[in-house]
Amino acid sequence: MTMPTTVSGNRGLQLEQNLIFEQDTPGMTAVDLPAAPKVIERLGDMKSTRRIGLPGMSEPDVVRHYTRLSQKNYSIDSGFYPLGSCTMKHNPRLNEKMARLPGFADVHPFQPVSTIQGALELIDTCAAWLKELTGMAAVAMSPAAGAHGELCGLMCIKSAHEANGQGHRKIVLVPESAHGTNPATAALCGYAVEAIPANAEGRVDVAALRQHLRPEIAAVMITNPNTCGLFERDCIEIADAVHEAGAYFYMDGANYNAIVGRLRIADLGVDAMHINLHKTFSTPHGGGGPGAGPTVLSPKLAPFAPVPQVVKIGAGFDSEEHAGFGTAKQSYGRMKGYHGQFGVFVRAVSYMMAMGIDGLRQASGDAVLNANYLLARLGTEMTAAFEGPCMHEAVFDDRFLKGTCVTTLDIAKALIDEGVHPPTMYFPLVVHGALLMEPTETESKQTLDKFIESMLHLARKAKAGGAEAAFKAAPMYSPRRRLDETKAARKPILRWTPSEPEANGNGARQAAE
């Protein structure tokens, strides 16, 4: 199908936008500054006279540039975003407003402790909610994201083993269905990784796990609910077996949204678990971060938690910033600058306060209800990978596409034309041609019904045959059609480069030598 062309390349509201570097008006700036006091410079021989190569633009043009770019994005504010394992729930604007209170936004991490009592109280409040919800003894607040929280948990585990003369434990067990960060984190913590298989039900094969347990095993990392959207029914048995073998049980809390307010993590025998505040507690994903990955710890691991730590002193708070001192006597050290993702904590606390424990319990209930509704309604035309009930996400495999030339990828791209963000594709790896759908609790039945209608239509169309070409051509209506990823990877262009005549005196060229 050929689209009618326009002179500008624009298509009504879809406006083409060049790179900022192609809009340069030399000398232009959108920021006026007060005059500088007259002083004699003290730069020694370090003053630079280079031209950096940054483009100049006016304020109206900059605002228009980013506004137009934003319009090329799909977002949770604009539509249904059932991206499995990502918990794309509504991001309340109250959170943003609270994070911008000058008393939170305009404070410096190294102000005297007497002037930051409210900031320390905020961190302590966030920690108190997380500890009460999980029943765990302590929480390390510094990890910057989920993968960083995993690292924090494994660092605590390794430190505990070493303190107990168990430094010979060098292997971490990770299920095949795990997210890639689990094995990557274990490797970053100096561990070797062994995969454990899943059973036909999409859960950890407990017998196989037991066979792997031996004196070299340091920890087992299990996502629960797992990446197939199922609760690991045997997780207490697993925890007992792991502990019996002298290892620790790390639970990946990426899917905590499904169970928040329903049970306490401590009751599952967990030693460490990270919590993605940018999933369960509604802080925005921002196109890829920032997140926060506070990590709750059992009494055995708590002494090794990283610094800084907020400490209650009488009616106020102090900040322990050094390993080897005070509450941090056995701390393994520091893993991030300053006091963690403070701005994310403010947003999460704002959300937790607004929801309350009754709201959080209702949220996990609605999240699971919505996912099971998709599983039930879509199961008529699509093939569910596992028997329900599922938790907060439903996974389908591509058996329903067998015999057609349509793939999971094609279905996903066709959904874009239907105005929906595609589910997670080809993950978990243990499900062939997986489509992992996580609707979250912030979607109405009406939204789900519309999605179901689109999805069922596409499934029937694929199975009826004859529509392969239409599927392969999708998406048609998005700002760009399918992009050539092979070309991007074979000859990577990772930055804008000036055309030759402009390049004189440019820093980038000098670095290229």
Binding site: Y426, T486, A489, R490
Partner: protein, 125 residues
């Protein structure tokens, strides 16, 4: 004597006297899809049978190429890094990865011949 043997990891090795030429099979390239990056070993590198010798990547997958035999790399195919698509186009010809001086030719006995490999692949799909 010139014959080709195959591994379970989908490498082939073509023997010419004491020198083997190694690459990945037609089946392997079809599974990987468009190949975007190849790293070949430098001449003189000692490799073990089953040890990592080269790297091949598509957009969505990365894989090690294991040496079918023990020996010393005689030459890497230096045309590949600039034209990784050759592996897609001609995996068992111009898309070869490296040539190796065999340390122990008897290792070849543990590898599959063409008929056995074809049967092995047929069972996978």
């Amino acid at each position: 004597m010139s014959e080709t043997r195959f591994t379970k990891d989908h490498e082939w090795i073509k023997i010419d006297g004491k020198v083997g030429t190694v690459g990945i099979t037609q089946f392997a390239q079809s599974q990987l899809g468009d190949i975007v990056f190849v790293e070949v070993p430098p001449a003189g590198k000692a490799v073990k049978a089953g040890g990592e010798a080269a790297v091949v990547e598509s957009v969505k997958a990365a894989s090690e190429v294991y040496s079918p035999v023990t020996g010393t790399v005689k030459e890497g195919n230096n045309a590949l890094p600039d034209a990784p698509e050759t592996v897609n186009k001609d995996p068992e010809g111009a898309g070869w990865f490296f040539k190796i001086d065999l340390a122990n030719p008897s290792e070849l006995d543990g590898l599959m011949d063409k008929a056995a490999y074809d049967k092995y692949v047929a069972e996978l799909s």
